[in-house]
Each structure stands twice: as structure tokens, then as C-alpha cells.
């Protein structure tokens, strides 16, 4: 975002955000206030993912599902300050990954980076890294060994997330190419969705998948997660303006509008099928949030409605496709984040009109650039995640035993149960 911002200034953003981008870098308290709270909002999305996922598993696995998220939050928080930030935002090594200049946050202090303290930019980015890893867990709930998850998560952060974040935002090749990704459609969503699919394929389906009912044990919990996501996503998208300005306001409005449109779309699709579904409207909302992410600061509110409707349709049918193929990518990270992110990245190329120009504004080439970004992320994320999963499987094993799976992971892996 920071780098992107600089890049975009010649493209016309300068005029728009003149009030908040100063020539000599100095901290602006308003921008800093907005980024502080935005960072906190993105942090809240992380347990939001935990509840969103936790409500959809069986009650014998709800703690283990939440634990995947809590442990990821804790683990990546520490890894990010130790070396993750450096790999993603250190001085570029051939446009592919960041150098080790920021190891242990050396040189990352209270001085301004744009109009906010560098430390704050680092933390805002850190929350993005954490949530991306956390999202991947949706593919593997109810059967993955906790220890294997910790190992996989560490490797994946290092070898998948950090490089891709660098490509797009850290001064890497994709950003240089002109790919538009306002708040992380490729880096966060395509990335996590594809990787969840690769990992789930290696891991295999849950015992009884397809025959035994895997009823969501607590839909209000899933709704709680969904609304925390909706709420926190204002920080995620509007915070990505890195300023409290008009672009932030635009991103905010687009986030809400696209989400609402996608939620309605999904609701009507489920209604056409049978009845307006609560799990459906919640899932549709997340699909809309995902799809507007890369576009949030580049499109008009009317375009965001189109993006939202598209997200509802694309993800709904992707989910059905996944089910029909009998693939147990359990909580549909691929269908919602992978496909939603893909649609969003392409749609950004189509609808961009603020601070950048897309197809409809007469720049069809942008769609091509977006496709390059999408493709690169799909291929890299899938391949590396697949290989990492195979390695972890071979070395320590990915799955719990059949008996542990039957009894439930809460008891088997954590010695606890959720409800007395």
C-alpha cells in the first residue's frame, strides 16, 4: 500500500489526497489515529475468523478450530516482528523477496513513513499477514494435527506469504508491473484460498465426509464472526488508504456497499434454491468483502454494487462446484476467498476509475495486468503450499488418528471441551 501509494501519485491520486500527503514526511495525528484504530480493527477480524469458522464445525471440534486461529495470531505476531516484515518489506532482492534489513525491527521506529510512524505501518501489515495465515485454516478443520499446523503455518508465512506480499506491496515485480491491489485481493485472498485448497488436497477429507452429517453446531457464532469481519474490514480496506482522507471514505463506502450487494445476491440465490439462508447471507457478505478488497479505493460506489453482485454469483457457484467434486476443502476458503479474490482482482481491472483506469475507463490493458497477478498468485501459492504440505506430512504427519477424529479434536488434541 505504501509503495503503491507512491506509485499511484502520478496517476492522479495526488490531487485527491493533497491534504494528507505532505512533501516532507511528517506524522499527521489524524492519519495516525485512523491507522492505529484500523490496525486494531484488522486484529479483531482474526478472532472473527475463529468464530466464523468455529460455528460451522461440530461441537466436538469448535475449540480446536478456534485454537488454530488463536495460535496463528500469537505465532505470526512474533514471527512478523522477528523476520516476516523484513522478508516482505525489506529492500527488494530481485523483485522477489525483501532483504534482511529490518530483521528484529532494526531500523523500524517511530519516525514517519508517509504520515504515520513506521512502526505502525509495520503492525498494520503484520495484521494482514496473520489473517491470511488464519484464513488458510478453514480448509483443514476437524482433522489436522495441531503441531503440524504450527509447522506448516511457519513455513507458509515465510515461503508463500512474505514473497507474495513483497511482489505486490513491498516493491516487488507485480507492483512494478502496475497490478492494482488496493487492500490485498491477491496477497490475502487468492493466496489463502488457493493454499487452503492445496493443503486440503494433501490432507484428505474428513472421516465420513459426504455420508455423516457435518452440521454447523452454532450458526449465531458464525454470524458473530461474520459481523466482526464486516466491522473489522473497514479498517482493512479504508485503512489501506494509509490516511484519513477521501480515498479512505471511498474505500469505506465501497466496502459496505459491495458487501451488502453480495449478501443480498447470495440470499436470493439460496432463496431460489429453497429459502433465504442465514449461513448464506453471512457467506455472501464475506464474499463481497473479499471481492471489493482489491478494488476498494479505485472504483465508484455504483461499480461496487456490480462487484458485489458478481462476488455473490461467482462464489456461490464455486462453492457448489467444490461440493459436487466431493473435495473436502471444509469451510470453502477456495470458493469464497480464492474465487472471490480472483473475481475482485479482475473486476478492479474492469471498473477502476479513481486514481487508476480500468477497462470501462478505456484502459483494457489493466485487465491483462490483473490477470498476470492472479495467475502468478494461483500458480505460486498452489505449488509451494502443496509441496510444503507434502513435506510436513512426510516428516511429522498432517492428520490426527482416526480415533482422535471420531472423539473430536477438542478432547484429543487439547484436552478440553467447549461446553459443560
Amino acid at each position: 500500500m505504501q509503495k503503491m501509494l507512491r506509485k499511484l501519485i502520478p496517476l492522479g491520486m495526488l490531487a485527491l489526497s493533497v491534504a494528507s500527503v505532505s512533501a516532507q514526511e511528517a506524522i499527521d495525528t489524524g492519519d495516525t489515529a485512523w491507522l492505529l484504530i484500523s490496525t486494531a480493527l484488522v486484529m479483531l477480524m482474526i478472532p472473527g475468523v475463529g468464530f466464523f469458522y468455529g460455528g460451522m464445525v461440530r461441537s466436538k471440534n469448535v475449540l480446536s478450530t478456534i485454537m488454530l486461529i488463536l495460535a496463528t495470531l500469537s505465532l505470526v505476531s512474533v514471527l512478523w516482528v522477528l523476520y516476516g516484515y523484513s522478508l516482505a518489506f525489506g529492500s527488494s532482492i530481485a523483485g522477489f523477496v525483501g532483504g534482511l534489513d529490518y530483521l528484529g525491527l532494526r531500523g523500524v521506529g517511530m519516525e514517519p513513513n508517509g504520515t504515520i510512524p513506521h512502526l505502525l505501518f509495520m503492525m498494520f501489515q503484520g495484521m494482514f499477514a496473520i489473517i491470511t495465515v488464519a484464513l488458510v485454516a478453514g480448509g483443514i478443520v476437524e482433522r489436522m494435527k495441531f503441531s503440524a499446523w504450527l509447522v506448516f503455518a511457519t513455513l507458509w508465512l515465510t515461503l508463500v506469504y512474505a514473497p507474495i506480499a513483497h511482489w505486490v506491496w513491498g516493491g516487488g515485480w507485480l507492483g512494478e508491473l502496475g497490478a492494482l491491489d488496493f487492500a490485498g485481493g491477491t496477497v490475502v485472498h487468492i493466496n489463502s484460498g488457493i493454499s487452503a485448497l492445496a493443503l486440503a488436497l494433501v490432507l484428505g477429507a474428513r472421516k465420513g465426509f459426504g455420508s455423516v452429517s457435518m452440521e454447523p453446531h452454532n450458526i449465531p457464532m458464525t454470524v458473530l464472526g461474520a459481523v466482526l469481519l464486516w466491522f473489522g474490514w473497514f479498517g482493512f480496506n479504508a485503512g489501506s488508504a494509509l490516511a484519513a482522507d477521501g480515498i479512505a471514505a471511498l474505500a469505506f463506502v465501497n466496502t459496505n456497499t459491495a458487501t451488502a450487494a453480495a449478501a443480498l445476491t447470495w440470499m436470493f440465490l439460496s432463496w431460489r434454491h429453497r429459502a433465504p439462508s442465514v449461513l448464506g447471507i453471512a457467506t455472501g457478505a464475506v464474499a463481497g468483502l473479499v471481492a471489493i478488497t482489491p478494488a476498494a479505493g479505485f472504483v465508484s460506489p455504483m461499480a461496487s454494487i456490480a462487484i458485489g453482485i458478481g462476488a455473490g454469483i461467482v462464489c456461490y457457484y464455486a462453492l457448489l462446484f467444490r461440493m459436487n467434486r466431493n473435495i473436502d476443502e471444509s469451510l470453502d476458503v477456495w470458493a469464497v476467498h480464492g474465487m472471490g479474490g480472483t473475481w475482485g482482482a479482475i473486476a478492479t481491472g474492469i471498473f477502476a476509475s479513481v486514481g487508476a483506469t480500468g477497462l470501462l475507463a478505456g484502459n483494457p490493458a489493466q485487465v491483462g495486468v490483473q490477470l498476470v497477478g492472479v495467475l502468478a498468485t494461483w500458480v505460486y501459492a498452489f505449488l509451494v503450499s502443496y509441496i510444503l504440505a507434502r513435506i510436513v506430512d512426510t516428516v511429522i504427519g498432517l492428520r490426527v488418528t482416526e480415533e482422535e477424529e471420531e472423539v473430536g479434536l477438542d478432547l484429543a488434541q487439547h484436552g478440553e471441551r467447549a461446553y459443560a
Binding site: E215, P216, S270
Partner: protein, 112 residues
């Protein structure tokens, strides 16, 4: 004394309770259960598409009554709990050898 175990639709519980109350049958113990029979589970909506649940929520009423009241109670339950659609439930009648009231240690009919 007999024990009447009636498995009925949860939404009929209140009506059954009122009808039994009206006839002076106040003592009962109720359990939330899940059942299966001719009615074979239910289809619920997933995020998109559907999934099956093999058991349906039912309510089990347990009442110990004197021999002569059995038919009366069975009648009341049948007529208030029935909707005419599959899944209305069953009533089982079991022998009871003795009843004790915990509070007073009274035994037999006096304890019901």
C-alpha cells in the same frame, strides 16, 4: 402403576401439557430427544446447497400413572399431539414395580 413414555413433536408439548393439566395430570418428566422412524431425518441448508441430518428433534414425556388412568392419558396425548403427518410419535407403556417419593419416602400409588 404404569409408566407412559410418549415421544412427540416438540411444538405440541405445550398443548399436551395444558390438556393433561386440565384433566388433573400434573406429574411428568420431559426430555429433549432426537428421533427417527418412518420420518427419516431432515434436510437443512448449508452455505450453498444442503446437507442431511438423520435425527429429528422430539420430546419425550414420561409419566407414571395408576393402572386405571393409562387409557385416559394415552387418549389425551394422542388427540392433542397428533397432526396427522408422519412423525407424530409413539407412546410406550411399561410396567412399574414401585414408586418412591424422595421427600417423604412414601411408596406406591401415594407417591405418584
Amino acid at each position: 402403576m404404569k409408566k407412559i413414555e410418549a415421544v412427540i413433536r416438540p411444538e405440541r408439548l405445550e398443548a399436551v401439557r395444558e390438556a393433561l393439566d386440565a384433566q388433573g395430570f400434573h406429574g411428568m418428566t420431559v426430555t429433549r430427544v432426537e428421533g427417527r422412524g418412518r420420518q427419516k431425518g431432515i434436510t437443512l441448508q448449508w452455505r450453498a446447497g444442503e446437507y442431511r441430518v438423520e435425527f429429528l428433534p422430539k420430546v419425550k414425556i414420561e409419566m407414571v400413572v395408576a393402572e386405571q388412568d393409562v387409557e385416559k392419558v394415552v387418549d389425551i396425548i394422542c388427540s392433542t399431539a397428533a397432526t396427522g403427518k408422519i412423525g407424530d410419535g409413539k407412546i410406550f407403556i411399561l410396567p412399574v414395580e414401585d414408586v418412591v417419593r424422595v421427600r417423604t419416602k412414601e411408596r406406591g400409588k401415594d407417591a405418584i
